[in-house]
Symmetry: C2
Subunit: 246 residues, 2 copies
DNA sequence: CCAACGATGCGCACAGTGTTCGCTAACTGG
DNA sequence: CCAGTTAGCGAACACTGTGCGCATCGTTGG
């Protein structure tokens, strides 16, 4: 008996932890911390155990508030889209500027959380935050003279463009961050490959070297704005009243 | 000694396998089989061990031909883009149709391998296959009257649109496949949620119900073509000679 | 005031993951 | 014929997501 007591080491040494100071864990708190972890260490670093310890909790405790890791990620994505402050949509006369502001808002959100790029393929973006934004945008475009169907087409086109462009940007930035090298160092490292490229792909090579001295951040902003402008040009002919811009 | 011989069971029973019938394993073969596995079972099912057994090899043997799983995926992505049969780009007069064909080719490739959607965020698409396509497209657009910078902007815009649109499509199809439900069953399941949606998001609701009876595949094709047309409209003003379409 | 209860946190365990390390066995050039 | 290079592989390591059952809590009904 006494031997058993010693073999079972701490039956009487109960930790007697009284942990109900706080509600201790809540879904909101969990996804918030998940977003923070994703921002800090990237998508590969998100594990239930690490997230648990960050919250001062065990890994499996999270499953009381979240069904899956996948569900958690879904929630994190919509949480981030909750940062979207929709621009003022009250003036349909400025539908163009408003749409641009909207697109740039989405771009900014994704670039602030580059791990989103990996998730865009995993979500159907049906989250409430994006749905509200879509509805408001549709309303404004309708008020600006777009038939609802055309407004929908325009919105989807802009949205797809923003997702594709920004997704690629974010992926590039993620790879840069993971490799630990700066953008210039990467360009320097690819220099030897450019010698051959010049022969086989002269146009790509010319474009690359022409952009070599620009500030990459500014350049990406301008490229994004350029494509967006072209899309809005093309879309605006669907407005009742024809291709008069603004 | 004899005891040792029995404890170490098969020191003398060497399997004497002679396995050099074939080259047995090659990088090309590995990524081909990886693509097949990804197509068949999706992105979560790709593991080195499973891929190894499919090739009649051990898991760790693959590392003789591929550095990482990440590198393998990168190779698989470019392998798939190798399916791209670039359309005939010899006639710059038909730059519009050719660009459309190009975009639809990329869309078709991605939809044929929906797991690509999850990877678009992980690749910088610098693979040789896409680079060749880009160079050819640039050449044609230049011949069609676009200054090189504008050709580049146009190509990037179209490309981002295709990636965003098709990525979302593929993600949706992937989720459908994983849930094992058909598109109609999903719509049926979401019916109750539409009651509330009608009140808070009337426009989205109207669009959904208006599309409820269409064939989803055809509808997605048309939406894709619509946005692409708008983009090409907007882009074509950058051509020397102005906004004359053809 | 105490007993019963639902909710919550958590340790354990399981199956599976990517990847490293030596080892063997085969092929290759001299 | 032999040395050296290389392809394949089994074992092992450090992890992963997650189900199960138990301990503990705040609450509530008798």
């Amino acid at each position: 008996m006494t031997a058993d007591d010693r073999q079972i080491p701490s039956v009487w040494a109960r930790p007697s932890r009284e942990r109900r100071e706080q509600p201790a864990l809540s879904r909101q708190q969990i996804v918030a911390e998940a977003v923070r972890l994703l921002d800090a260490e990237g998508v590969d670093a998100l594990s239930m155990r690490k997230l648990g310890t960050r919250l001062g909790a065990g890994a499996t405790s999270l499953y009381r508030h979240v069904a899956n890791k996948d569900e958690l990620v879904e929630l994190a994505v919509d949480e981030v889209f909750g940062e979207l402050r929709a621009p003022d949509m009250s003036d349909p006369a400025h539908w163009r500027e408003t749409t641009i502001a909207c697109a740039q808002g989405i771009r900014a959100v994704i670039l602030r959380h580059p791990w989103m790029a990996s998730m865009l393929g995993a979500m159907a973006y049906l989250g409430p935050n994006l749905m509200r934004l879509s509805e408001d945008l549709l309303a404004m475009l309708e008020a600006a003279g777009f038939p609802l169907t055309e407004a929908n087409g325009a919105m989807n086109t802009v949205f797809a463009y923003v997702l594709g462009m920004t997704g690629s940007e974010a992926a590039w930035l993620t790879m840069l961050a993971r490799s630990g090298q700066s953008e210039d160092e990467w360009a320097e490292r690819l220099k030897p490959a450019f010698e051959n490229l010049h022969r086989t792909h002269p146009r790509l090579s010319a474009l690359f070297t022409a952009q070599a001295d620009d500030d990459p951040v500014r350049r990406r902003e301008e490229e994004f704005a350029y494509g967006l402008d072209r899309i809005l040009d093309g879309v605006s002919v669907a407005r009742t009243g024809g291709p008069t811009f603004d």
